[in-house]
Point group: C2
DNA sequence: ATCTATAATGTAAACGATTCAAAAACAAGC
DNA sequence: GCTTGTTTTTGAATCGTTTACATTATAGAT
């Protein structure tokens, strides 16, 4: 049905070896006769609409032609995966690699003996792991022993990791407000007292502090509510806006704080953005999720996915063992704005 | 490196053909001697941790071993794709099929000559198309001519479609409220006057009407705001709650209406759910997105993905040309509740 | 023990690509 | 025109499966 190399070879009156070599661009054909023949072969291939059979190629090359994406399914609102996946796919396609997704549970990582099984079973050339929680060193060792190339996503370590640069992100958001003329700024966030805290919780806060220090400003507040945002954020927001040294701008760890700030401001008759600027981090434009036109620092997940594939492919193709981690920079999205220069 | 059939054949002292047959379960081996040998072969395969090389198998069988997922990238908040993908993957894995995702733009469908190209290029055994807009008949014909099996997701047609049953969903949400004792119910939604309206806009509304009729109740309102929700919903919600025959329960087309209802109720001092029950449709628990604990009719996208793969695989394996469409039923999610019996 | 019908196995040819050694083609120098 | 050295092409082997066909093993009947 589909065109094969043999058909092209016959049509061009050459051997299959030649067609393969020409189509894969091996050997530059310095001689005019060869160059002419190569030209002709390429023409015929195009005319026949030739596509190499990936399965056949992979058999011969001892490849699987696929990579796995392991994500942790425990996080409820795992919407962050989608842009990651889009980034992954956009890079995977030109490399002729296919994707296999597996859901990974926290439980699986806590019974590490299942890991090698997963790696062997899956028949892939490489694995991307998007796992936000802490990974026992025993697991990372087992993974290393499997000799399947691995890249970690959204995890901040020295090697084989790709993650959003939340420290720089925090600085960027803060500088944006400082440049508008704000002097009284606050950062609000939350942390789980006993539970797990993602590195971004601390890094965004530190980035805020760094930018403030750099500008010679003293934060009105740089604080973490204990316990998940949803419960405590409204009260915290209200308290912040009732302070005598009320901030003119707030950087929020994520959308729930932004909503809380907005709501509290509305309740107190404080206008946004005229009297209060709000900027927040989120996986997607906050307006899309909540209806509020909040200036959003969109987490660069798509780029994380892209770079992860790039690194993984390097590891696969060139057998590179360990690669330095790549922090990915944020971009400020102003499609909707809740920031303005301070009124006084 | 990896175990091959030949190694197992040697270890078991039989030929590769026999191993292949045994491992693929061809021939039931009615004779005791054969059965014993088969047992032994399976044991050795297990011991060696044998995994069939999919690439090799696919070459031999003339398969690509992969399916494509084409999604329309034009929809901004395309979070709905994620559960679809999870559903797809959970079914794809046991079938040993890999995935390729392509983003599809509206523009691509409007220049249909690119379609066959996409289909040929992609080297897949089948295609799933998740395209919410109207599809020109010219395109569907081109796709049929390509002879690559296709299943449409979230599209309501007679053949080869899998979609959430929004009519039944509308009935279900409404009956839930009626069973609680509500008599004064409203449905609010929106439609784009000139633009594209998804079938769910009408079906959920019709489902509401159907359930009301069945219960012998007259709707307080069953209306569509013109223009996208975000802009008009708050005003509409306010007007609805200010009516003399104010409803005690509202079914919302999606989360933005629910947020608007909630906010309007708060502004008027109407307590939720004591004085006003709210139920809304959404791709994910509304609490996760907005912080408001709204009872949610979660669109059964995961199941849509699962069924799509099931249908596609039937088409691939059995060469079935056309299959009847499958509407997928909703389930009511009460993890968070904003519904209660009416107070009086 | 022999024969027969049939179940099971062995053998080898595919599938479509890549690649290596060997052969052929080519250009240059004498 | 012949030799030489380099470039290019050819032909065949290979990757790991599956499967059609030929062959052998097997259980039951005689």
């Amino acid at each position: 049905m589909a065109t094969t190399i043999a058909q092209i070879a016959q049509a061009a009156g050459v051997s299959v070896g030649t067609v393969s070599r020409v189509l894969n661009g091996k050997g530059e054909s310095s001689r005019p006769a060869a160059a002419r023949r190569a030209q002709e072969i390429r023409r015929i291939a195009r005319e026949y609409g030739y596509r190499p059979n990936l399965a056949a190629r992979n058999v011969r090359n001892g490849r699987f032609g696929a990579v796995a994406f392991l994500s942790c399914s425990d996080i409820g609102a795992d919407v962050f995966e989608l842009p990651v996946l889009h980034g992954i796919q956009s890079e995977l396609m030109p490399l002729n690699l296919r994707l296999t997704m597996c859901e990974l549970t926290k439980a699986a990582f806590e019974r590490p003996h299942t890991i090698p099984h997963v790696f062997r079973e899956s028949s892939v050339d490489g694995v991307m792991i998007d796992y936000l929680f802490d990974v026992p060193s025993q697991v990372t060792e087992l993974i290393r022993d499997s000799h399947v190339p691995v890249v970690w996503l959204n995890r901040k370590r020295e090697l084989d990791c790709v993650y959003p640069d939340d420290f720089e992100g925090g600085r960027m958001a803060t500088r944006h407000l400082i440049q508008m003329g704000h002097k009284k700024l606050a950062f609000i966030s939350y942390h789980e007292a006993d539970g797990f805290n993602h590195y971004s919780v601390f890094d965004r806060s530190d980035g805020f502090a760094s930018a403030m220090f750099e500008a010679g400003l003293k934060p009105v507040a740089n604080e973490m509510t204990e316990g998940f945002t949803l419960g405590r954020a409204p009260e915290r927001a209200m308290r912040l806006l009732n302070r005598p040294d009320r901030p003119t701008a707030v950087v929020c760890y994520e959308k729930h704080e932004a909503v809380a700030m907005w709501t509290a401001a509305a309740a107190l008759g404080i206008r946004v953005p005229e009297e209060l600027s709000i900027i927040a981090f989120s996986n997607d434009r906050i307006r899309n999720q909540t209806g509020l036109p909040v200036t959003t620092m969109i987490v660069p997940f798509k780029e994380v996915g892209r770079q992860a594939v790039y690194m993984l492919n390097r590891a696969i193709e060139q057998g590179i063992e360990e690669q330095p981690a790549r922090p990915i920079q944020y971009e400020l999205d102003e499609a909707t704005r809740s920031c303005a220069p301070p009124s006084e």
